[in-house]
């Protein structure tokens, strides 16, 4: 949780950083299956571990900055072109989540992100969908009786041309606009919000939160400037955690090895767009899925009208089937062994790289 102490700590540290580097910070949200202490306790006695990735060897170490408030300093060291690169970032631990916060444009942050990804399935990255994010902002406005505005936002639209290339339209606005109006405008023009600056609180209007790539349901880069905009970040961590726990609960205990009489417990993905309406759209979806890292797949069937695949997660050896069952509907069927973390990783990948979808245990619409 971002307590006032942590807010003060971060504010002072970030403002000292501000003088030298960019004044903004990056952050990343992770769901935590068990306390960080436990995870590291199992990995090593010294709260540290090493891992190799892309020909580099990384040394990753956690140190408590504030034990009461569960603020961690994350040290990372790696060698690049015979030069030892060192860096530090912060991890704020809540009961079920970790918020990784660092200076913006810091390669150290990217290294930390990779290091945290090594802790899968104990740690899983989490993304909100666009609708969930809008709900969260509305809740903030209600709670703090403060209408949020944006002073800068970019809308984007991608359209596939006949030759397979994607043409992009980007419009940037710099007028102060109510958040509700920004979302409405994006919807009306069939565009997504690629970046948005949310202005700070009533008390400190000079603070703001920048959110990038948000339009695809992906708040991968949340950056804060200064002062009490950190309240928004604090609010985000708490609320995102609530949504994340709900989603995690939905994904738990779906392995057929655990269900009564080994019944299947499928999940439905309902996309906003008709992503399976034609062979071309199915191929486009397939093109994204095959890029899913740390996985193997078998295409059971791919044609018109349906796509049916088996995906194996090489990170924790989970397996799932995914099948399109409608113009905008897919079903995910966990197999004999499928962890909730693996389902979360796969669904997050789809939301991040393909588009918005609602996850549920049944289909809302009635069949034709």
């Amino acid at each position: 949780m971002i307590t006032p102490e942590i807010a003060l700590y971060l504010s002072s540290n970030l403002s000292s950083v501000k003088q030298i580097h960019s004044p903004t910070v990056k952050s990343k949200f992770y769901i935590l299956k068990r306390p960080l202490n436990d995870i590291f306790g199992q990995k090593a006695d010294t709260n540290s571990f090493k891992f190799d990735l892309n020909r580099y060897s990384y040394h990753f170490k956690l140190k408590t900055a504030d034990e009461v408030n569960k603020l961690w300093l994350v040290f990372i060291t790696y060698e690049k072109k015979n030069e030892l690169v060192k860096g530090v970032t912060w991890a704020i631990e809540n009961s079920n989540s970790i918020l990784l916060v660092s200076k913006a444009r810091s390669s150290i942050f990217d290294m930390c992100e990779r290091a945290f990804n090594q802790l899968f399935p104990d740690l899983s990255q989490f993304y909100l969908t666009r609708l969930e994010f809008i709900e969260l902002l509305k809740k903030y406005e209600d709670q703090y009786q403060h209408q949020l505005t944006s002073s800068y936002y970019t809308l984007r639209r991608s359209k596939s041309s006949g030759d397979g290339d994607k043409r992009r339209t980007t419009i940037t606005y710099t007028t102060k606009t109510k958040l509700g109006d920004v979302f409405n405008e994006a919807d009306l023009n069939n565009m997504w919000i690629s970046s948005i600056r949310i202005n700070g609180s009533k008390e400190r209007p000079d603070g703001f939160v920048d959110i990038v790539k948000f339009g695809l349901g992906n708040n991968t880069k949340m950056s804060i400037k200064r002062g009490y905009a950190i309240r928004i970040l604090e609010f985000f961590q708490k609320e995102i955690e609530t949504v994340a726990i709900q989603r995690y609960q939905l994904l738990r205990n779906r392995s057929r090895i655990k269900t009564a009489e080994h019944q299947i417990k499928p999940l439905f993905l309902e996309f906003e767009e008709n992503v399976f309406e034609s062979k071309d759209r199915i191929d486009e979806f397939l093109g994204i899925i095959v890029k899913y890292k740390n996985s193997q797949y078998s295409i059971i069937h791919s044609g018109n009208p349906h796509l049916f695949m088996t995906i194996s997660d090489t990170k924790d050896r989970s397996t799932l089937n995914i099948k399109s069952v409608g113009l905008n509907l897919a079903v995910i069927v966990p197999q004999i062994r499928t962890s909730a973390s693996s389902l979360l990783r796969f669904i997050s990948f789809i939301i991040k790289n393909y588009g918005e979808c609602k996850i549920s245990e049944s289909i809302s619409g009635s069949p034709d």
Partner: protein
């Protein structure tokens, strides 16, 4: 070129079997959906014997009504493109027109069963034209009908895709089935559970289908750890039978997946270097490939084709050696006789 053809053929074999499984499940589901209570799904690949020729026949799907009357389905995922092959395929259908002996019911003879040819809607016209051109050569004493199947896209967002089956020519004797078969529509979403629990029909799957299902879907659940645990084919059957249920009806088998199939699959995987066998005949499979290999089906198909081509090459080499040996022996014989002749002279 040879490998390319092999890859195409294995993909076709795979698709044919997949479609057969899918249509079999669809027919089974149709009986439930349309409350055709007096007909039960008897079995896929039910064994019958011709009373005339004693030859065994196994329709893809067999239904049975309350009077023990049989309804036999010949399912086609596609029909041959060339007229000659289509004619040959259609002329095989009269094998079901004989009186048929039921091998599991102490020789009960089926005298008036229905015969249904189920083909893709897109092929219906060519099938119909061929039947017309065959005239009297294509004649049935029993009820014969042609049904078609097609997979349909949903009509709107939120709705599901479906498979539509329609009776186009001829009739069946059960009035309810006759009426329902004018238009059967099964939603994909209603088949999710069945298609997860039934990945095989009793017909032995082609190697490519067997391997892909075993390696990418079933074995990750059976061999989840890196630690080497050797398991016998029988144990695998035991472990999987609750996940992949046996086909309903009076099938004697306890499991959907046959022990002989598992053994065959494991043997091929061992040959491909993807399974390890111990001295007890048990296997360990590591169903996780190297990082660079992502598409398991493509990988297995390529490996199977390599294996087939190598086998062919070895066979050709052996044939060539045998021919050389034979020629050598013939020459030896010739010289022996020549020498003998010279000595005699």
């Amino acid at each position: 070129m040879e490998k390319k053809l092999c890859i195409e053929e294995l993909n076709r074999e795979y698709d044919r079997y997949y479609t057969t499984v899918r249509l079999t499940l669809t027919l089974k589901k149709a009986l439930d959906k349309y409350n055709i209570d007096d007909i039960q799904f008897l079995q896929a690949e039910y064994k019958l014997k011709s009373e005339v020729s004693s030859k065994e026949v196994k329709p893809d799907v067999t239904l049975e009504d309350s009077d023990e009357k049989l309804i036999l389905f010949e399912i086609k995922s596609s029909v041959p493109f060339t007229p000659e092959l289509l004619e040959k395929e259609l002329l095989e259908l009269p094998k079901y027109d004989d009186n048929l002996i039921r091998t599991d019911k102490r020789g009960i003879i089926s005298e008036n069963h229905d015969i249904i040819f189920l083909c893709p809607l897109k092929d219906f016209e060519s099938v119909q034209n061929m039947i017309n051109s065959l005239g009297d050569a294509f004649n049935f004493s029993k009820n014969f009908s042609i049904w078609t199947w097609v997979e349909m896209n949903a009509l709107r967002s939120g709705a599901t895709n479906s498979t539509v089956i329609e009776r186009k020519i001829g009739e069946v004797s059960n009035q309810k089935l006759n009426s329902v078969s004018k238009h059967i529509n099964i939603d994909d979403v209603d088949l999710i559970e069945e298609s997860e629990k039934s990945v095989f029909v009793p017909l032995q799957p082609p190697d490519v289908y067997l391997l892909v299902r075993l390696f990418s879907q079933i074995f990750p659940g059976i061999f989840p750890q890196e630690t080497k645990t050797f398991i016998s084919a029988e144990e695998i059957i035991e472990m999987t039978k609750d996940y992949y249920i046996s086909w309903a009806g009076n099938q004697r088998a306890q499991s959907q997946i046959r022990s002989s199939w598992i053994k065959r699959g494991l043997k091929i995987l061992e040959e491909l270097g993807l399974a390890e066998k111990n001295e007890k005949g048990e296997y360990f499979v590591q169903p996780w490939l190297s990082r660079s290999t992502k598409d398991i089906k493509k990988y297995l198909i390529q490996r199977l084709c390599d294996r087939e081509l190598i086998t062919k090459k070895i066979e050709l080499e052996e044939k060539r050696k045998a021919e050389i040996l034979k020629k050598q022996q013939q020459l030896d014989q010739f010289f022996k006789e020549e020498n003998r002749r010279k000595r005699t002279n």
